[in-house]
């Protein structure tokens, strides 16, 4: 009987170990549905290129939403996705020729040290601006920093002979033939089976970034290369000519980007003496100041005397020199100059154009029978903050996690979230079951 007891015990232990086996769950499989993902081509601007922290640099390119999408496509039969990489050790270079930004301790004019974005090198890496197509092309990521919707169809968009400011050096380096090629012609030459078209931001953004002082908002009307609508039509006609399927993203409301929302309109904090002094100084304009937070003074040619206080719905741009605000009387005795301010009139122009672009993009998706992702709606939902897998994300500068140190472009986390928006729309349209990205694998702003 003892024997039986011990044998039973022994068997029980054996069973314990056996059932300690891990529970199994069936993994759903990635299916491409009605898609052919053999050749994916991404057409777009800096966002598509992976530009971040005010520069095009290697680590950013590796996590562009387009590159991330291609990796998910490869789980369902997608082909190679060639990116015009900058060297791994390059400090990168931006549209304003600076190196990429990093967070570092900066001491301001008042001697206060705080963590701030600063270029990691004195200047950007201009050595990247050499043609690399022959050696490394063709490229599937045709995301060109600075490109507007109207630029996509322009031949010779990368032709240096057009002179500085009239050609795009980022396209020059990656074009098949800088003198003759357009972004579209290079895309079409790859015979895409699938494409993403995420363009139009710069058609309003370049104007907005300069506070409306430079550049112009692209009109809806006009021929390809001039007007937004015809340029989009020509681009889609070209991309779909070979039967490719694809997805279009809307233009986000750029005025909700951190670049426009970080500096508070009422950042002029005064004590009673300062307030009285300013009130006296501006008495002829009838502007009064009080102790505490006051609206900044700005230049506005339309205002009486060319100056006024900014309103709560207007924006001081992230580009405004902080030391000038803090120590040189900017925004108080010296009204902030127009290139650092978006006024109500400018905002209205931007909003009207954005709305018109998005109406066009939505109808184009219908006409060309393409998937459609409302990036603008997603951005707006993020303003108040969203949570994904326990990560809180918002449009707040630095701590919001989604936007990089330039306040316009995305962090790796922001790119992954954007890519997931594309994947959801693609799956809905084409009956595919492409897996979304695990966003926890992508970080926000890097803290030293």
């Amino acid at each position: 009987m003892k024997k039986i007891f011990f044998r039973t015990l022994y068997i029980a232990v054996a069973i314990s170990i056996a059932v300690a086996c891990k529970p199994k769950l069936e993994t759903p499989s990635a299916d491409k549905g009605s898609l052919d993902l053999t050749t994916y081509v991404a057409v777009g601007n800096s966002i598509t290129s992976g530009y971040a922290d005010n520069a095009l640099y290697n680590a950013g390119q590796k996590v562009s939403f387009a590159k991330l999408l291609s990796e998910q496509f490869q789980l369902a039969g997608g082909g190679a996705f060639n990116v015009p990489y900058v060297g791994v050790n390059s400090v990168g270079i931006g549209s304003t020729r600076g190196a990429r930004l990093g967070l570092t301790y900066v001491t301001d004019c008042k001697g206060v040290t705080s963590l701030s974005p600063k270029p990691i090198a004195a200047s950007g890496d201009a050595t990247i601006f050499v043609p690399i197509y022959a050696a490394d092309g063709p490229f599937h990521n045709i995301g060109v920093p600075g490109a507007k919707a109207i630029h996509v169809v322009v031949p010779g968009y990368g032709n240096p002979a057009n002179g500085a400011g009239n050609y795009n050096p980022f396209f020059y380096r990656m074009a098949s033939a800088p003198i003759t090629a357009s972004m579209l012609s290079d895309a079409v030459a790859l015979n895409p089976t699938f494409f993403t078209l995420f363009i139009g931001n710069n058609d309003v953004l370049l104007y907005a970034l300069s506070g409306g002082a430079q550049d112009v908002i692209t009109p809806s009307a006009g021929s390809p290369g001039v007007g937004f609508d015809a340029s989009v039509d020509a681009t889609l006609a070209g991309l779909t000519a070979g039967g490719a399927k694809g997805i279009i993203g809307t233009v986000p409301d750029i005025t909700s980007l951190p670049y426009f929302t970080t500096v508070p309109y009422n950042g002029l904090v005064l004590d009673a003496t300062q307030a009285a002094g300013l009130t006296a100084a501006y008495s002829s304009f009838g502007i009064t100041f009080h102790e505490g937070a006051n609206a900044f003074m700005i230049q506005d040619a339309a205002a009486p005397g060319g100056i006024r206080q900014i309103t709560s719905s207007e924006h001081v741009l992230l580009s405004v020199p902080q030391d000038s605000l803090k120590c040189k009387g900017w925004g108080s005795t010296k009204p902030i100059t127009t290139q650092y301010v978006l006024t109500t009139a400018e905002i209205t122009s931007i909003n009207n154009a954005t709305t018109a672009y998005n109406v066009k993009l939505r109808s184009a998706a219908t006409v060309f029978d393409l998937a459609f992702v409302d990036v603008n709606a997603f951005l707006k939902s993020a303003i108040t903050g969203l949570t994904f897998d326990g990560i809180n994300v918002s449009t707040t500068f630095v701590s919001g996690g989604a936007f990089s140190l330039d306040g316009v472009h995305l962090t790796p986390l922001g790119n992954a979230l954007l890519a997931n928006q594309f994947i959801q729309s693609i799956n809905a349209k084409y009956g595919s079951t492409l897996p979304e990205l695990d966003v926890t694998k992508y970080h926000g702003v890097v803290f030293p």
């Binding site: 007891f5 300690a20 529970p23 969203l386 326990g390 897996p435 695990d438 970080h443």
Partner: protein
């Protein structure tokens, strides 16, 4: 005979109980019988199962037992089509009971030391839920001095004071990257709480016994926990190390159980537990040093009251050799929208079996085996917007030694 036993072990549903973060592993005989024990006076474990039944124990005795718990959960994200598993260490809930009383006295005194909850769940590195939880270790010991009084051969009452001590170790990652790795938080602390356990035992006729018990809620409070943060150096002032306080309620439980002896060698038992989980409304952490990023947190848990149904049996093959089996069905207290990786809970069925052998007049060995099968559960945690499908198995072999005198 051997064959029969083996078949019994394989086929008989026995039971186990772990519910929420509570484990119900307080006696090998009772574990073997689906976790029933409210309506019987089987052994010293009645100190836990029904203090009223202690007075009806025939002998004095001392008993020690252990139930190594092997839990495995699998996680799946349907969105990213990825999986993760736990690699939790084996946890070892234990019991120790002693019952004494003069032969002529109607009083019996007892002391119970047992583990009402105690588990470690550790998810694999880099898993998708790491910003919710990477590891949670909960361990507690309840010490319960008990008095039981035999009003008559048909009625016994008893009660015990419960003093609980415990510790918590909770870890999660923080989404603050230095470029190569994320930050992390480690919250450790000691907890304590008090409560009581009371019961009535009735034996109206020879073939039937009935028990009713009430175990009070025990609030395990962490008063001087230690919060440690590993974050990029520029954020260290934003995440200051320091003290925190928190608390975790262990719910009240009302149980009714019966034991029936239709034939001499067979005992059939059944229990119903009402578990007052609605007390677990939130998990809050109150940090001593708050900053803009480190605010006190209150995470809604919103558990609901729930039931467990248990059925068991014991058959005496010989005078000194008994086999047991049981089954239990436990409803989850966790509502949809609140499932967390701390406790990937779901409704579950427990199958239990066990054997008991009396080596000599005074020495008994009881062994049990429990297998818990959690229903597959898919849920999106509202607070973290974390979608998950979980499946969990728990296997618990256990053994105890009892010396009677």
């Amino acid at each position: 005979m051997k064959k029969l036993l083996i078949i019994l072990i394989f086929l008989s549903p026995l039971l186990v109980q772990a519910q929420g973060f509570q484990v119900n592993l307080q006696g090998q005989k009772q574990q073997s019988m689906g976790g029933t024990g409210t309506g019987t006076a089987l052994d010293e474990a009645s100190i836990f199962f029904n203090p009223g039944a202690v007075s009806h124990l025939e002998k004095n005795g001392v008993s020690v037992g252990i139930s190594p718990t092997i839990a495995n959960s699998t996680f799946e994200s349907s969105e990213s089509q990825s999986q993760a598993r736990t690699n939790s260490p084996v946890s070892t809930p234990f019991t120790g009971y002693a019952v004494f009383g003069q032969e002529e006295s109607k009083f019996k005194f007892g002391l119970g030391v047992y583990t009402p909850f105690g588990s470690t769940i550790k998810w694999e590195d880099e898993w998708k839920g790491r910003f919710l939880l990477t590891k949670l270790q909960l361990f507690s010991v309840f010490i319960q001095p008990t008095v039981s009084y035999k009003i008559s051969d048909k009625i016994g009452i008893g009660a015990g004071f419960v003093y609980g001590i415990g510790k918590i170790d909770l870890r999660r990652d923080i989404p603050a990257s230095d470029g190569t790795s994320d930050g992390s938080a480690k919250l450790t602390g000691n907890a304590s709480g008090i409560g009581f356990n009371a019961g009535i035992y009735l034996k109206p006729i020879e073939k039937l016994s009935i028990g009713i018990t009430y175990r009070s809620q025990v609030n395990m409070k962490v008063n001087n926990g230690n919060a440690e943060f590993t974050v990029p150096s520029t954020l260290s002032s934003t995440f200051p190390n320091g003290a925190f306080s928190s608390s975790l309620p262990l719910p009240q439980v009302i149980s009714i159980g019966v034991g029936v002896t239709p034939i001499e060698k067979l005992l059939i038992t059944a229990d119903v537990n009402f578990i007052g989980w609605s007390a677990y409304k939130e998990l809050s952490f109150d940090y001593e040093n708050n900053t803009s990023k480190l605010e006190d947190t209150k995470s809604a848990r919103n558990y609901k009251n729930t039931f467990a149904f248990r059925l068991g049996g014991q058959y005496s093959i010989k005078e000194n050799f008994r086999v047991r089996a049981g089954i239990a069905y436990q409803l989850t207290p966790v509502r949809d929208g609140y499932v967390t990786p701390e406790v990937p809970d779901a409704n579950k069925i427990s199958y239990t079996a066990g054997i008991g052998y009396k080596f000599a007049d005074k020495l008994t060995v009881d062994a049990s085996f429990t297998f818990e099968d959690f229903a597959k559960r898919t849920d999106t945690n509202k607070e973290a917007n974390f979608s998950a499908t979980y499946k969990t198995y728990i296997a618990i072999p256990g053994i105890s030694l009892t010396y009677n005198f």
